[in-house]
């Protein structure tokens, strides 16, 4: 699979402050790549550099196998994007905005505009000025603009921001459809794990401007583990009973009162019955499946916990 984006030591410094540092990112053709990280981690800055909105302080970007610089921006003909939030000439109508966009890219296909508007269910907006649009409508219109010229790569920064639950679902389905049916590569960003989990094939974790890890979602699924977590005031005695009476050896004390049992051959009811019969007071007992959140939380030790 060829690389659509490849960055080498991509760094951006503003007024002496490093926003992103030595980012080596790879997005492969046809995949949906999710940039994940807390607010202020540097996701938007990376996207801005990849779409020519800001110039990197150092490092290199390869777009569709060619070096991408301020003086060699041809690769952008094959890219659609929404960075931060969709920006329009508010005093112009949606159609005027879309036509201007197409003309800047040297793309002339009147039908494509109508088709794209239909795809996101934006109808009857011909004479309506963009300033009269709701945020959700602007987001849809932004998507239309990003895909109207049939790009091979679409870069979307927090694509579900400002959308209602139906809009979020529609957006997810649209991204999936464009990815599967048209083979469009997506680079998405989000600070919400659940959001990325539902759309991305591969994830790049950004923390303090650095790419901490790149991992395929399928690989994380394999690492998933189930465990039973219980809370008790008598940890030592509980551990003793679990080990000697229930023959459970895979135990981890998480905090002073919290124990995790990774041997799931024993059921929650077995454990609670045995502990109660041994006069152990159980404050809480629950079966868990480790989530993507757990994985990332461990990856970014000491970092901000995601939403």
């Amino acid at each position: 699979m060829s690389d659509v984006i490849r960055t080498y030591e991509l760094t951006k410094t503003v007024k002496g402050k490093t926003i992103t540092s030595n980012v080596n990112l790879t997005v492969k053709k046809g995949e949906t790549y999710g940039l994940l990280g807390p607010n202020g981690a540097g996701k938007t800055t990376i996207m801005k550099m990849l779409t020519g909105l800001i110039i990197p302080t150092s490092g290199e970007i390869m777009l569709f196998g060619k070096k991408f610089t301020e003086s060699a921006k041809d690769g952008l003909k094959r890219v659609g994007s929404i960075i931060e939030y969709p920006i329009f000439f508010e005093h112009l109508t949606a159609m005027e905005n879309l036509r201007i966009h197409c003309e800047y890219l040297g793309f002339y296909d009147g039908k494509a505009i109508t088709q794209a508007l239909d795809m996101v269910n934006l109808h009857g907006i011909d004479d309506k000025k963009v300033k009269d649009f709701s945020l959700g409508m602007k987001q849809r219109l932004g998507i239309v603009r990003a895909m109207i010229t049939k790009p091979e790569l679409i870069v979307l920064d927090e694509p579900t921001n400002g959308l209602d639950p139906i809009g979020i679902k529609d957006m997810r389905e649209l991204i999936r459809m464009l990815n599967k049916e048209y083979g469009i590569t997506f680079l998405l960003s989000s600070h919400i794990l659940g959001e990325i989990e539902q759309m991305a094939d591969r994830i790049g974790m950004i923390q303090h401007g650095k790419l901490v890890n790149e991992v395929a979602l399928a690989d994380i699924q394999k690492l998933r583990t189930d465990y039973i977590e219980l809370v008790t005031s008598n940890v030592q005695k509980t551990v003793y009973i679990l080990e000697h009476k229930l023959q459970i050896s895979n135990i981890k004390i998480v905090k002073d009162t919290r124990i995790r049992v990774y041997d799931t051959a024993r059921s929650t009811s077995d454990i609670s019955k045995t502990l109660i019969s041994n006069d152990i007071e159980i404050e809480e007992i629950q079966k868990h499946t480790s989530t993507l959140e757990d994985y990332f939380y461990h990856q970014i030790q000491g970092g901000d916990k995601f939403e």
């Binding site: 779409t51 301020e70 041809d74 994007s81 920006i87 000439f89 508010e90 800047y104």
Partner: protein
């Protein structure tokens, strides 16, 4: 480049800009007569009403008002685009920033040049018509006066357009500040008058050349430095 210049026009709030230009035209149309008949009527040291060739000097000074229109265009084409972040749309196209800035500069130049030229024609005609009825200027315009007026209108319109770029780099692209841009333009527009008030002897033509050169330097810096100071 032509296409990029056309797109600059299409992105503008056209009604607002046209309305603004109309106001300039209407005001400047009557200003020469107003100055000759009212403001300077009793001033002994002025001789603008002596002949059409003298009146042309006054006409040129009045048309410097379009430097302020240039500031307004810098505001619409650069500052507003930065503030509304629509500049990021332009930077996201496969066109270098230098080329985009060049297109914007050409667009402002053409807009200011054409509007100043039309203003020259309108105020020339208005002054002449008034002169027919209320004797504003002594004598009648000769063919030489008309040719000289035509040449002067074209040259001065170009000079005004170039001078209007003086605030472009510092206040338009770097600081992105509307008020300093306007104040700078008002100052440039009034510079010959200030000099007169302060009794500083100035060769007006030399002054226009110097201000024009500063305008060109500002354009050069705007294009050359856009990669360093033009980030959104």
């Amino acid at each position: 480049m032509n296409k990029l210049i056309e797109l600059e026009w299409r992105k503008l709030e056209q009604k607002k800009v046209i309305g603004e230009v109309m106001i300039y035209w209407v005001i400047l149309m009557f200003l020469p007569v107003f100055f000759l008949k009212v403001v300077m009527a009793d001033l002994a040291f002025t001789d603008f009403e002596e002949s059409y060739s003298s009146a042309m000097e006054l006409m040129s000074a009045i048309q410097m008002g379009f430097v302020l229109f240039g500031a307004s265009m810098i505001n619409h084409v650069f500052i507003e685009e930065y503030k509304n972040k629509t500049m990021s749309l332009s930077f996201g196209y496969p066109i270098s920033r230098k080329k985009l800035v060049m297109a914007k500069v050409w667009f402002i130049f053409l807009a200011v040049f054409l509007c100043t030229l039309i203003s020259f024609v309108l105020s020339g005609i208005t002054t002449y018509v008034f002169d027919l009825f209320i004797d504003v200027i002594h004598g009648l315009p000769t063919l030489a006066d008309i040719i000289s007026f035509t040449v002067k209108s074209i040259v001065h319109s170009a000079v005004v357009s170039v001078i209007s770029f003086v605030p472009l780099f510092l206040f338009g692209i770097w600081k992105r500040a509307v008020i300093p841009t306007v104040i700078c333009s008002v100052f440039l527009m009034q510079f010959p008058n200030f000099a007169g008030l302060l009794h500083i002897p100035l060769n007006t033509n030399m002054l226009y050349v110097v201000l024009g050169l500063i305008g060109l330097v500002s354009v050069y810096l705007s294009i050359a430095k856009v990669n360093q100071v033009g980030d959104i």
